[in-house]
């Protein structure tokens, strides 16, 4: 019988056979990379807002404290967003006719809130409490990065479960003194083991239950 296949068929057959295990491994690798990439976590993504509010200007240049607008951050789970009145305390005097601030003025007039776009979003089944972190030595820069450098708010951290767990397993290295909590320039983490132990004792943090599922999922 004459040859059925062209000599190239051998290499094609070998390629197909070899590709099966390769594809299986590839699936695992690509899946992980895709989920860890910024495409999924949204890390480093700027979010455009109805009013281009610049933290760089308000925090960096003017030196406003976080709690001025985000009042609930050390009291309740939700950090809180400034009501229109807080903006208008200054902007009723400054840049009163700037086109950029038209939505703020319109909101004040009509009583309809400004529809900001959320930058940091956690799934519904995750219960994150700002106040217990702020009151136990975790500063704003740990998760939000240096706000004084962000003209438009950017998502600085992946907020994946693995990322949160890394901190919950070694909380000490991410804790800082009370004074630095709201300081935008303090880098994180400090990686000083002695300070870590000191911080844990200072804030009386119970680490036994930090990786319990009931801490974040209810």
């Amino acid at each position: 019988m004459a040859q059925i296949f062209h000599p190239r068929a051998n290499t094609v057959a070998i390629a197909v056979l070899v590709s099966i295990p390769v594809v299986v491994v590839l699936v695992f690798v690509v899946n992980y990379q895709l989920h860890a990439s910024s495409y999924t976590t949204g890390e480093g993504r700027f979010v455009d807002q109805p009013v281009p509010f610049s933290h760089k200007h308000h925090v960096g240049d003017l030196g406003l404290d976080c709690r001025y607008c985000h009042g609930g951050v050390d009291k309740v789970a939700f950090a809180g967003l400034p009501p229109t009145h807080t903006c208008m305390t200054c902007h009723s005097q400054l840049f009163t006719n700037a086109a950029m601030l038209a939505p703020v003025r319109q909101s004040l007039a009509t009583g309809i809130p400004i529809r900001w776009n959320r930058v940091y979003r956690l799934p519904d089944y995750v219960y994150f409490d700002h106040s217990v972190h702020i009151r136990n030595g975790i500063g704003c820069t740990t998760c939000h990065g240096d706000m004084s450098e962000q003209p438009l708010t950017e998502k600085k951290t992946p907020l994946t479960m693995g990322w949160c767990l890394a901190c919950h397993r070694h909380p000490g290295t991410h804790m800082r003194d009370e004074a630095d909590i709201f300081d935008p320039h303090v880098p994180d983490p400090h990686n000083d083991p002695r300070k870590a132990v000191a911080m844990l004792r200072h804030y009386v943090v119970e680490t036994a239950n930090m990786t319990d599922c009931s801490v974040c999922h209810r």
Partner: protein, 463 residues
């Protein structure tokens, strides 16, 4: 139509030719084997019966997948499960199908290692059954889950959550038992098929068949060197298949035994499930052999002697099942625990007890008929008893689930299971889907392993 190649009359005197109404009594040449097995595959007009069966199975397959899609859209509430009897038909179907699957490997590996030459005619038939039964068995747990779209969480894949499977759960062992067993069976079945594909490649008449069979045969050229390496690999695989199949069905038994519920927490479950698997598997093999033998006229290859031996094996397995049940009853009574004794009472006299007695009849009593040679000689009797065995074994699996979940420790939560239409559709749909796959196999692949039968022919002609 007689096949004459190279002028030599391939059928010496005394042997009937295919298409001849007299059944072939003895096959004593290689060519006879080739003609019998590859004949139907290569000329495609004698398939009327096949098309009828294929149409019926295709309809059932549409029902099966239709029900599955509706299940995923509407949710598993469409089944008859409730919050107390949380498991139902899909779990029973899963155990039943993987039980049938296991018998295929038992035939092709255990009987190979014990030099049962007669298995050569039916081992590929059985391995194909394994493949398809385990594939369907693999679908069942996914259909039984509440959120099937996350079944991959049972695998240890690297993820951004830092979470891993929980290795103490019998369901994780199940995941790997099914996956390994399915892939192992595919490799084992394909390896056995390579030489026969080469034969088909060389006998193919149309270009398309030659290319397809040629590609699948990976260029096998029957070199003696290759045979030596091939047979070593094939026998080692058979040696590995036996412990694999025993462990797979022991793990399925551990699904129930690795719990603390009355009627499940018994040490006999793993071996008792393996024997149960072999038992219902042989039943299915008998049915398939009879069907394929009738469909493709392979009476010469799959002889009544095969059925006789298989009947004996089923007799042995049926008796072992009876012993297993007796052990269960005795250990339940002997434990002296109130809950176990109440459980036995519920099994024997409770709401499901009629089904229990039907199961005892099908599994243990009907098969005793095989003591008589006359019964073992009549094919219809064997087929009937095999079907009864499979019905009995399915009943056993569903009763294992129902009895324990309906009648357990806390009396206030005793509750019964009422099946719905969808339970039945998925069950019979899965039968249809199995038939659908099997008919495709019969249509495109050699049903009998020619190279092993040729060795059989050599032994008979040499002696």
């Amino acid at each position: 139509m007689t096949m004459a190649v190279g002028g030599a009359e391939i059928f010496p005197a005394g042997t009937a030719r295919p298409g001849d109404d007299r059944r072939l009594t003895r096959v004593n040449t290689n060519e006879a084997v080739n003609v019998l097995v590859t004949g139907p595959l290569l000329d495609s007009e004698r398939w009327r019966r096949w098309w009828i069966a294929f149409a019926v199975s295709a309809a059932l397959t549409v029902i099966f997948f239709g029900s599955m899609i509706y299940l995923f859209v509407a949710g598993i509430g469409i089944f008859g499960n409730n919050s107390i009897v949380v498991w139902g038909y899909p779990i029973a179907n899963y155990v039943w199908w993987i039980g049938i699957g296991n018998a295929g490997t038992l035939i092709s590996s255990m009987l190979l290692l014990t030099h049962q030459r007669w298995r050569a005619a039916i081992n590929r038939l059985a391995e194909a059954m394994t493949l398809m039964a385990v594939a369907i068995a693999g679908l069942m747990p996914i259909m039984h889950m509440g959120r099937p779209q996350y079944f991959y969480w049972l695998a240890p894949y690297p993820n951004t959550m830092g979470l891993w499977p929980q290795w103490r759960s019998a369901l994780i062992w199940d995941f790997w038992a099914i996956l390994s067993y399915l892939l192992f069976s595919i490799v084992f079945w394909y390896t056995g098929l390579i030489p026969d594909l080469a034969t088909l490649r060389d006998r193919a008449t149309t270009r398309a068949k030659r290319v397809v069979y040629g590609a699948l045969a990976l260029g096998w050229r029957n070199s003696a060197r290759h045979w030596h390496i091939y047979q070593t690999y094939y026998r080692t695989m058979a040696a590995l298949a036996t412990p694999l199949v025993c462990s797979v069905h022991s793990i399925v038994g551990l699904d129930f035994a690795a719990s603390l519920m009355p009627g499940w927490q018994e040490t006999i479950f793993p071996p008792y499930f393996v024997v149960g698997a072999m038992y219902s598997g042989f039943g299915m093999v008998v049915v398939l052999c009879a069907a394929v033998r009738w469909g493709l006229r392979l009476e010469a290859l799959i002889t009544m002697r095969h059925f006789d031996i298989m009947a004996k094996v089923m007799l042995m397995a049926g008796t072992v099942m009876l012993i297993s049940y007796a052990t269960e009853w005795f250990s339940g009574w002997y434990s002296g625990r109130g809950v176990d004794r109440r459980f036995l009472g519920f099994e024997f006299a409770g709401t499901y007890s009629p089904l229990y007695w039907i199961m005892i009849f099908c599994n243990c009593i009907a098969v005793q008929a095989f003591w008589f040679r006359s019964v073992r000689r009549s094919l219809p009797a064997i087929i009937l008893i095999s079907v009864l065995i499979n019905i009995g074994m399915w009943l056993e699996r569903i009763l294992i689930v129902w009895n324990t979940l309906s009648h357990h420790y806390v009396a206030s939560m005793w509750r019964l299971f009422y099946p719905t239409l969808w339970d039945w559709l998925i069950l019979f749909g899965s039968l249809g889907f199995f038939a659908f796959l099997y008919l495709l196999f019969v249509r495109f692949f050699p049903v009998v392993s020619m190279h092993e039968v040729r060795q059989l022919v050599r032994e008979e002609t040499a002696s």
